[in-house]
């Protein structure tokens, strides 16, 4: 599945990739520990929990006692993960047996958390200072809008209504891999991964972007560890509460600004001081990709006659639909279109390689609630048809070849055919009209051969 290379890797993979001493630093604040814990695979979580109050190293054997024969792979994964994240340290006792022990900082923090509860990274501002804060709904809307506009910029800056102040260099970085541009004259085209990116749900997209953001932090002269720390921290702020900007370092301020463009936070300026309001996007950051419950309300109804109704006001949706459907007309809150072979092939022209399943899953994930409860939410005949189209897209394979004709004589022709056959480059012959098609790669040999035939 091509998807894997685009799907945003877990935040924690990035954390894990940090150098050890940075990691240990991270574990100083408890909410990072919490975040890390939550990101662990189930088995690992359980191990942490059962070692929570044990301060002696536990031999690997004892741990394995618990594992069932068919659970060993999982066990391995869990243990590796723990060690990788330095949550657990592996040491060898004098009997050369591996023993595990919890990272004391980590352990302490968790114990504290369990007994006293988590501490908030910073206190929200008292409501008397802040002018009326946006309600959660408004915040949602704001976040969605920001994010969408950002995406629009990403795929085609022309479509985007309002501009973002995200630096264009930054944009370029994000677009890298998603868009491909032969040269500046023609508009850049969506790559396969770009297409898949669009079909991913918001959190996945967010992850992808954030990852890009972090990975190239260094070249902006930002320490990725700090960045990660801050992002995690951010994710533990309470959605919709206002936090004073002055509590941030300059670096964090600059980050915040970028994030506000992505819709992770909303910036507001009061009389004397400004504050930022984390949105849901931000607070979801620490959630590992696996459990994103932020399900957007579906909006697409597709009928057995391939007509497609999308109850959406968003430009982005329209753009996405355009990718594979012929949009016929567009009402304020409704996009009507149809999927058909043509539009499909257009798509295949746009996207170098594409996956019908991708589209189907997109349709399923965004099915309108009324259709959603029907099984299947997308009619079989549509899904089947899409698969068929796809299959007959990659039915033909092209290869460069040369047509030879006007052979002087039958036997020369025959000889040529045989020659081509020997090289395994023979493609097609028309014996009575004496025409022959041969793969391009042996062109020279053919030339040479034919010349020899001449004499």
């Amino acid at each position: 599945m091509p998807q894997v290379k685009i799907v945003a890797r877990n935040f924690m993979d990035m954390v894990a990739s940090l150098p050890t001493m940075k990691l240990d630093m991270l574990y100083d604040n408890s909410f990072i520990c919490e975040a890390i814990l939550r990101s662990l695979p189930p088995l690992a979580k359980k191990y942490v929990l059962q070692l929570l109050y044990i301060d002696k190293p536990i031999s690997a054997k004892t741990m394995e006692e618990w594992v069932l024969p068919d659970g060993f792979s999982k066990h391995k994964v869990a243990i590796d993960r723990l060690i990788q994240l330095r949550v657990m340290t592996e040491t060898y006792d004098r009997k050369k047996e591996a023993t595990y022990q919890l990272n004391p900082k980590f352990q302490f923090n968790l114990q504290k958390h369990i007994v006293h509860g988590g501490v908030l990274p910073r206190e929200p501002m008292p409501s008397n200072i802040t002018v009326r804060l946006p309600s959660l709904e408004e915040l949602e809307a704001y976040a969605a809008e920001q994010w969408e506009c950002f995406l629009l910029h990403l795929i085609s800056s022309s479509e985007a209504g309002k501009t973002t102040n995200m630096s264009s260099s930054m944009m370029k970085i994000f677009q890298r891999g998603l868009l491909s541009q032969r040269d500046d004259r023609e508009p850049s085209r969506l790559t396969e991964s770009g297409f898949q990116f669009l079909l991913m749900d918001t959190n996945a997209q967010l992850w992808y972007i954030i990852r890009e953001y972090i990975t190239n932090a260094e070249e902006r002269g930002v320490d990725s560890a700090d960045l990660i720390a801050f992002l995690l921290e951010l994710s533990f702020h309470v959605t919709g509460k206002a936090y004073n900007i002055n509590t941030l370092t300059d670096l964090q301020r600059s980050i915040i600004r970028d994030l506000s463009d992505l819709g992770l936070v909303k910036l507001q300026q009061g009389r004397k001081e400004g504050w930022f309001i984390p949105t849901k996007l931000a607070t979801n950051l620490s959630i590992s990709l696996a459990d994103t419950t932020s399900r957007k309300q579906g909006f697409i109804v597709i009928e057995t006659n391939f007509r497609l109704y999308a109850y959406s006001t968003s430009k982005l949706h329209c753009e996405i639909l355009r990718l594979f459907a012929r949009v016929e007309y567009q009402l304020p809150n409704l996009i009507v279109g149809a999927i058909n072979k043509e539009s499909f092939h257009v798509l295949s022209a746009v996207v170098i390689w594409m996956c019908g399943l991708q589209i189907i899953s997109f349709l399923q994930q965004n099915a309108h609630p009324r259709v959603a409860e029907r099984i299947p939410s997308v009619p079989e005949n549509v899904t089947d048809q899409i698969r068929l189209w796809e299959s007959d897209l990659n039915r033909v394979e092209m290869m460069p070849a040369h047509l030879y004709d006007e052979f002087p004589s039958k036997d020369v022709f025959e000889a040529a055919c045989d020659f081509a056959r020997e090289y395994g480059a023979f493609l097609w012959e028309d014996s009575k009209r004496m025409r022959l098609i041969v793969k391009a790669d042996i062109l020279n040999e053919m030339k040479e051969f034919l010349r020899r035939q001449k004499q």
């Binding site: 599945m1 998807q3 919490e34 814990l37 939550r38 189930p42 088995l43 979580k45 359980k46 929990l49 059962q50 929570l52 109050y53 006692e65 618990w66 594992v67 069932l68 068919d70 659970g71 999982k74 066990h75 968790l110 958390h113 369990i114 007994v115 509860g117 959630i287 590992s288 696996a290 459990d291 994103t292 419950t293 399900r295 399943l357 991708q358 899953s361 399923q364 994930q365």
Partner: protein
């Protein structure tokens, strides 16, 4: 591509229904006989609940107190504002008051039994509601932290609950606090595929909880949890109460007798004719 649902919901998200035994007589007996007081118990349990909530922000914990005269919900993490188990303390206090007000007899000889069947039934109802809530719901399991002896009157009710749980594939874990094993819970865990455990070191309750009972259903596929000591499913006869491996069952009320009677002592029906089944018939039957 992985199916939508699995992508959206982690497989270790779990709904934990905890039934805590708040039988005052039992606890005061514990206070007298052992060092393991109710407050200790509470702090262990609360810590455990907190850690469960910590493991996954979508984990859900519901606590039902099975008291001496009544049962009630004391905590539901999905409704409570803060994700901390300490919230249950106030409601627990109210509950105990209510429980006291309900009780009639001034004092009971012995420990008496808490209303396990009631809390079990409530827990199951709640779980059914979660099931109804849609395709994406946390994996429910029940954990009984029970100490009081089993209440004879409750047998049928408890069994019913157990079977209902089994039908909807909800495992019932049970941890017998106190010095006494519980036949109910043992059967419950055995039948529903849960874990039955009786801590040797009562002060280590938290360790037991976090090591054994914190395991989510997904991980149980890979882990070997304490297996129940062989549960003896032989019955014992109504007439002498001694265990039998062959007996006579009343076809009307299914009461068990160790030897042949003329009349059923339980439902009073007469065992009339047809006592002999002719061997030829029995022969044909196989």
């Amino acid at each position: 591509m992985t199916p939508v649902s699995s992508k959206l919901y982690a497989d270790d998200v779990s709904l934990l229904m905890v039934l805590i035994d708040t039988n005052p007589y039992f606890w005061s007996s514990m206070n007298n006989n052992t060092s393991f007081t109710f407050s200790k118990f509470l702090s262990h349990v609360l810590a455990f609940l907190n850690s469960i909530l910590l493991l996954n922000q979508m984990n859900q914990v519901v606590v039902i107190a099975s008291g001496y005269n009544s049962c009630d919900y004391v905590f539901d993490s999905s409704t409570s504002s803060m994700q901390r188990a300490e919230c249950l303390l106030e409601k627990l206090e109210d509950f105990v008051d209510k429980d006291e007000s309900l009780s009639r007899e001034e004092s009971v000889d012995g420990v008496g039994f808490s209303l396990l069947s009631g809390s079990l039934s409530m827990a199951l109802c709640y779980i059914q509601r979660v099931f109804r809530s849609g395709p994406l719901h946390p994996q429910p399991r029940i954990l009984c932290l029970h100490g009081s002896p089993d209440g004879p009157g409750q047998y049928v009710a408890v069994m019913n609950s157990i079977f209902s749980a089994q039908r909807s594939m909800v495992p019932i874990d049970s941890c017998a606090i106190g010095s006494q094993h519980s036949a109910f819970l043992q059967q419950a865990s055995y039948i529903t595929g849960g874990v039955y455990l009786k801590p040797q070191v009562s002060d280590g309750l938290f360790q037991y909880l976090s090591t054994v009972f914190a395991t989510d259903l997904h991980s149980r596929g890979f882990l070997q949890l304490p297996r129940p000591v062989g549960v003896d499913f032989r019955a014992s006869c109504f007439c002498h109460k001694n265990t039998i491996d062959m007996g006579y069952i009343c076809s009307v009320c299914l009461s068990i007798f160790c030897k042949h009677h003329k009349k059923c002592s339980t439902c009073g029906s007469n065992f009339g004719e047809a006592r002999k089944q002719d061997p030829s018939a029995s022969d044909q039957r196989r």
